[in-house]
Each structure stands twice: as C-alpha cells, then as structure tokens.
C-alpha cells in the first residue's frame, strides 16, 4: 500500500509539473495574466507531492520492505540503519527520485521566495522549471520506477554494495545533487529571461543567490566526494579524472564562471550574452553528467550499469532541453540590447579573462571525457584519455587562472591601469618570488607544475586577503568577506595539491608481524594481524604502531573486509592525521612466508586540499548570506582603491 501511495504521489506531482508549465507559459501570452497567480501555488504543490514520494521511498528502505523490487535488489535486512536509509539514493532509480525531489523543492523555493523579478519573467522561470521536471518525471515513471513491486518478496535482499556503506554516501550524493539541480534554477532563469527578453541587472541580482547556493553545495559535494574516494578506495589518490568525477567538475567550472559573470551583469550591466550562455551551459553540464553516468557508454568504477534504452531516454531529454535552450539563445540573444562595454584592464576585464579560462578548461575536460567515445564511434578503435592528458592541459591553465585571481579583486571597475594594479599586488608578488626561491633551494628537483603551484599558492594567499587591507573590517560587507575566504580557499587547496604531488613518500613491502618499516619520518612496527568480525562482514585487521622521532606512538588498524551479501572484498585504510600531513596505511593480501602486503604513505599537507575546498564553500555561503540579507545602508560595490594609488 505504501509503495503504491508513493507511486501515486509521483504521478500527481508529474501532472502538477505539467500544469505548472502550462500555466506559466500560458501567462506569457496576451490576456494570460490571470494565470500568473496560480503558477506559484502549483509549483509549491508539486514540490509537496514529490517530497512525499521521496519520503515514502525512504520509509520503504528504512523498513526494508522486500516486496519492493528496488529494496530487494539493493538492500538487505542486515544492512546498518544509516545505510538502509542512505541506500535509498545509492542506486539509479532512487537517486533519480532524489534529483527530481530537489528539482521540485528548488522550483517551489523560487516560487515562494523570489520577489525581485517582474511577474512575467518569474512565471516563465517557473514554467521552465516545470518543463524540466516533466521530462524527468516521465523518465522515472516510464522507465525507472522506484516503486515497482516484486510478485513474490524474497526472504532477504541482495545486499548493499559494501564500498557505499560509508558516511560519505549519506553526505556526498545529496550535497552534490542540491548543487546539480540547484543549477536548474539558473537555467530556468536564463530561459525565462530569454523568453521575456529581460536580461539585465535585475535578472542578474535575482539569479545570483541561487547560483551561489547551488555552487556552494556543488563545491562541498565535490570536496566530500574527493575525500571519500581518497580514504575509501585505498590507493591514496584524490582525483583521477574519471568520467564521473569529470561529470561533477564540469558543472562546477561552468557555475564558477557563471558566478563571476553574474556579478558583472548585476553591478555593471555587462556580459549579458555570456551570463545567459553560462547559465544554460551549467545545468546542461549537470544533465550531461547525469547521462554519462547512467547510460553505460563510459566505463567507470562509478557508473550505474544501465541498459542503453534508459540511456537513450535521457539522451532524448538532453537533446530537447539543451538543444531547445541553445536554439532559444541563438534566436533571441541578438535581439537583447547589448549591455555596457568596458576597458580590458579593469575588474570586468579580469572577470572576462576568468570566464575565458574557466570555459576553456571546461571545454578541455568535456573533450577529453568524450574523446574516447567519439574515436570509438568513428574509427572503431579504443583509446584512453586519462590523468596525464588532463593534468598537462588543464594544469597550466588553472595556474594562470589562479595567478589572475590574485590581481582581479584589487582592480577597479570600468577602467584601471596596469602600473597601479601592480603596485597594489606588489607584496603578494614579492612573496611569490621569495617562495619560488625558497622552494627551489629547500626542495630541489620538483617538477614544474608542483613548483609553480607551491609558489603561486603562497603569493595568492597574500593576495586574496589584499582587498581587506586598510578597511574597517567590521564595516566590510559580508559578501566581500565571502570573496576573500573563497579565494583564500583556492590558494590553500592549491598548496595542498602541490605538496601532495611533490612530497608524498610511499613504501610498499611484504612484512612479517614484528618487522619495522619506514615511510617518510615515521617508523612503523607491524605488530600483529588479527581476525575481526563486523556486523555484515569479517575482517583481517593489521595493527601498526607508528612513531616519529620521540613522539608518542600512534596505532593504526587497516583492514581487509570480506562481505558475503553481495560477496565482495574491500580494503579499509587506516589514516592518522597530523598538523603537517597524513599517514595513510593499507594492508593487502598475504603472501607466502607468513608475510602481508603493506602499502604505506606519508602525505605532507594533503588535508589542505579539502580544507581549501571547505573554505571555498564557506566563502560561497557567506556571500550568499551577505547578498540575501537586507542591508541597512546601501553598499556600493567597492570601486575606490585610492589609497593604493
């Protein structure tokens, strides 16, 4: 009964989405004004129904209702509570329902909270949201029904993939989805603005908080995903340019560019076409990512294995939405009156440069991800495009971008002079040079990218706080603090990446219990190996005692776990975090002679990577609050750096 109620709620929600679209679009026509009043409530009702459906699915998973096909296939009675619930979105159908739920909530939020837009544009926006929702509802209801029943309920389910039985699953997908789907609001805003030809500062100011919110969640989601993969997969890597990882990075790159572009449109009424295009591209990348991961056309550890028919369904949706939006763009944008133009040397100029580089990096990631597919389609030959390509092409561009990020925030709007800008960033520039020399002297033999990364990180750290110099900190607007912290986060993250790349020490051995091995500054004694039972697994646990000089010893217990429902082996790494890095240990399979394979890493300052990511997200959150809160005094975008000349 409950499952059927969920399905019914889903159907009602789908119909409400159709109504939402119909009312919204209808209100745009002459004489359609009365329909305007109905659009907002319908959007809210749709969200309520969708949330109900999702809540039903959560309940079915929590109570392990094995008569429901999805629960039987992807969960089991012995799965711990947290993962029973989180398992609702650990599969294709459930995660699609989560996607649609967030889409509905986003639409309702726009309907409830948005007061700055003219009614017509808002209606068009909500209508666009409804149209998007409709397609995905169709996908769910016709080919990915989460509430399908089994004729005979099995005694127990197939179990839940052990690799996903981790707090990361509870956090990473929902955060990421709020990000992906939040970008749909930007997309809808863009479509709405194109339909009503209303592209200007008001549109940008209205869209900005939504972009900030989605982008913040996306940053958090990607950071969490990276850390989760790092400690879960057992090989100490934090980014592999896997197609699924790229699928989350591409919307982020577009959203970052959009974020900066929307500020130019909001404050200077420039970059109209770029902003609208980026808003379309950002959500398009979200949808492309969804497609890639679920279509089965790309091989990835991360991919949901689906039949091509479902992939074809999403592809058709993609074609309609993205193609439609791009066609609308081509047709309408030329008739949108042009905004202000500005001097190349100016804050706008720096932001255009930012847009440019981010877009190029986005393009490269897209091309690299799709190239194997294209090559195979055209020539039949398989090839792989992996980290070496992406690092070599996007790395230098990213470094240039970070360097420009140092100068951008201290430039004036409209027109500035290079000499004056140079004066303002003289100290950070000097720091960069000092850092360069220091690194060369203290750590000779580094490869180019890590070397440049370290030096830039030092300089940009100083540069990111430059906008705060000689300001009354209490009177500085929150969104300026947000910018500073976000840029600082980038520098911190870059430092972490460079350190990890340059200074990681690795030791691989086969050791007998009782032997001592060194890695980096640590001496690690392999104390013992013991069997350990778990709730739904049995494990072989190694006890490692690590000492560094005369410090107190740390005990680490990496494990090899064997699950039997489904039968699988996983490796649980044991990580010890210190202020200056992480000790990462993994125990592998036994080898003859009573030895065990040990993989040990000392990764200096690797935690900065995710600390930086969190700072970036914090910056975004502060900016969002800063923009959304009502202000007591009107704050002018800071244009004067007179004190710096």
């Amino acid at each position: 009964m409950i499952a059927e109620a969920g399905l019914a709620a889903l159907w009602i929600a789908a119909m409400l989405a159709a109504l939402q679209a119909f009312l919204g679009l209808g209100s745009l026509k002459a004489g359609g004004e009365p329909l305007l009043r109905a659009v907002r409530p319908v959007a809210v009702a749709q969200a309520v129904m969708t949330v109900t459906a999702f809540a039903v699915l959560l309940w079915l998973f929590y109570s392990t209702d094995l008569s429901v096909k999805l629960v039987a296939e992807d969960s089991a009675i012995s799965v711990p509570t947290l993962y029973r619930i989180a398992g609702a979105w650990g599969n294709h159908e459930g995660s699609m329902l989560l996607w649609v739920t967030i889409l509905a909530i986003a639409g309702a939020a726009v309907a409830l909270l948005e007061r700055r837009l003219p009614e017509r544009t808002l209606a068009a926006t909500i209508a666009a949201q409804g149209v998007i929702a409709l397609g995905f509802f169709g996908f769910l209801l016709f080919s990915s029904n989460p509430f399908a029943r089994l004729e005979i309920a099995p005694a127990d389910g197939n179990g839940f993939n052990p690799l996903l039985q981790d707090p990361g699953l509870a956090f990473h997908p929902p955060t990421l989805y709020v990000g992906y789907v939040g970008l749909s609001v930007a997309f809808s805003f863009a479509v709405g603005a194109l339909l009503t030809r209303d592209v200007g500062p008001a549109f940008a100011k209205a869209m900005r908080p939504w972009v900030l919110g989605a982008w913040t969640f996306l940053t958090l989601g990607i950071t969490a995903g990276s850390y989760w993969a790092y400690y879960e997969l057992g090989w100490g890597g934090w980014w592999f340019w896997d197609p699924t990882e790229n699928a989350s990075l591409m919307p982020w790159l577009a959203a970052t560019a959009l974020l900066h572009s929307v500020t130019v449109l909001a404050t200077r009424d420039g970059l109209r076409a770029w902003t609208v295009m980026l808003a379309v591209v950002a959500f398009s990348m979200s949808m492309v990512g969804t497609f890639l991961v679920r279509s089965g056309i790309l091989t990835s550890v991360h991919a949901f294995a689906l039949d091509p028919r479902r992939g074809a369904f999403i592809l058709v949706l993609l074609a309609l939405y993205i193609g439609g939006a791009l066609a609308l763009f081509g047709a309408r944008i030329a008739t949108v009156t042009e905004g202000n133009r500005f001097d190349p040397v100016s804050r706008e100029g720096a932001l255009v440069f930012n847009n440019l580089l981010l877009s190029v990096i986005l393009g490269l990631v897209l091309i690299g991800t799709l190239y194997p597919l294209a090559a195979e389609s055209l020539t039949g030959e398989k090839l792989s495009v992996g980290p070496p390509y992406f690092n070599a092409t996007t790395g230098p561009l990213a470094l240039i971008l970070v360097a420009v990020m140092a100068a951008g925030p201290v430039m004036r709007w409209r027109r500035d002079e290079i000499a004056k800008v140079a004066k303002r960033i003289a100290i950070p520039a000097a720091l960069t040079v000092i850092a360069f020399v220091a690194v060369l002297v203290l750590a000779p033999g580094l490869r180019v990218l890590p070397l440049l990364g370290l030096t830039l990180a030092a300089g940009v750290t100083a540069a990111s706080v430059a906008p705060l110099w000689k300001r009354k900190l209490r009177r500085t607007p929150l969104f300026t603090w947000g910018m500073v912290i976000a840029h600082l986060g980038v520098a911190v993250s870059l430092a972490g990446m460079a350190c990890e790349s340059a200074f990681t020490k690795e030791t691989l051995v086969a050791a007998r219990p009782g032997e001592t091995v060194t890695v980096g500054p640590y001496a690690i004694r392999f104390a013992s190996v013991d069997p350990v039972p778990g709730r739904n697994f049995t494990a072989v646990q190694a006890m490692l005692v690590a000492t560094r000089g005369t410090s107190t010893p740390i005990t680490l217990k990496p494990e090899q776990r064997t699950f039997d429902n489904p039968p699988q082996q996983t490796s649980e790494s044991a990580i010890a975090t210190r202020w200056d890095g992480q000790l990462y240990t993994v125990v592998g399979a036994p080898v003859p002679g009573g030895r065990w394979q040990l993989r040990l890493w000392w990764k200096p300052f690797v935690t900065l990577i995710w600390l930086g990511g969190t700072l970036i997200a914090l910056g975004g959150a502060l900016s969002l609050i800063g923009r959304a809160l009502p202000r007591h005094k009107p704050v002018v975008e800071h244009t004067g750096y007179a004190r710096f000349g």
């Binding site: 081509g330 597919l373 398989k382």
Partner: protein, 179 residues
Amino acid sequence: MSLRTVRILLWLPLVAFLIVLGLVSSGLIKPHDASVHSQMVGKPLPAFSLPSTRAGQPPVTSASFADGKVRLVNIFGSWCVPCAVEMPQLVELKREGVIIEGIASRDTPADSLAFLKRYGDPFDRIGDDKTSAVQIAIGSSGVPETYVVDGKGIIRAQHIGPIQPQDMADILAAMKDAQ
C-alpha cells in the same frame, strides 16, 4: 566584429551540441563492447619458452608453432570457473582432430593437472605460465581466451571468453581460414 558574424557565432554552441549528440547517440546504438581485444592478431606469436606442466615433457616454445599445422592456443587456469564451463567444447574439438595447446596462467602444475583430470584434457601440450608473462605478451586480458595460430606461427584470430557450443562453428571456420 560585424553583427552578422556575431549572429552566426551565437548558433555555434547549438551546432557543437548537435555534433556531440550525434557522436554520443552512435555510441549508444552500438552495444558497448567492454572487452579488450588483443592487438597481436595478424602478428607472429611472441617468442616464449614455457616449462611443461606435464612432468617429463620438453618445454613448450613459440618456435614449435611454425611447423605448418594450424592450432588453437587456449589460455586457462584451474581457478577459473568459465574455463571449466568450456572444457566439454574443447574436448569435442579435440575429438574432431583439432590440435589444442594449453597455457596455464598463474597456476601450479598440480592444480592444473587436477583440473584437467576432473573436466577432461583436450591439450596436446601445456605450458606453465606462472607469471602471466606469455598471457601479457600475447595481449590477453583474462581467462579463458582462445587463439587460432596458423602454420607459420602467426596469430589469426582471438576468441574472448569461454567457447560455448554456438561458438564452435566460428572457431572451426577461423581455423579453416588459417590453413
């Protein structure tokens, strides 16, 4: 930039998207073949010399494959379940006069022979490939795999996975081609 140029450029993203769409669609239509095919088909067998799994027999060398006879080379392991599944087909092929050489990958002679005793032994000779060196050299990405090698020692065809009854005709046809 003239207005006309700008107008044309504005349609560029849509065009690019449609091109990508086309490519991706064709990828969807063709079933995704996740197996890795050996690139050594058409090239000579890589040089190797493996000790024989069967005690007392001379080592199995690649040179001995250039004796004018067409053969099958089957890579298997006693630990591999699909290898057991294809044994009846291999035994049947041997009964029809096909020469099959075995390469035991990552196996001990004792285990290999016990496996063959249980499931049937279609092999003329068996090479003991403890370190998968020959498996890698031949471009194999798993077991079981079967290669058709012609009389000059050139690899002519590769069959990935167990030989099912419905594959027998294709194998025999490939062998005929290699004559």
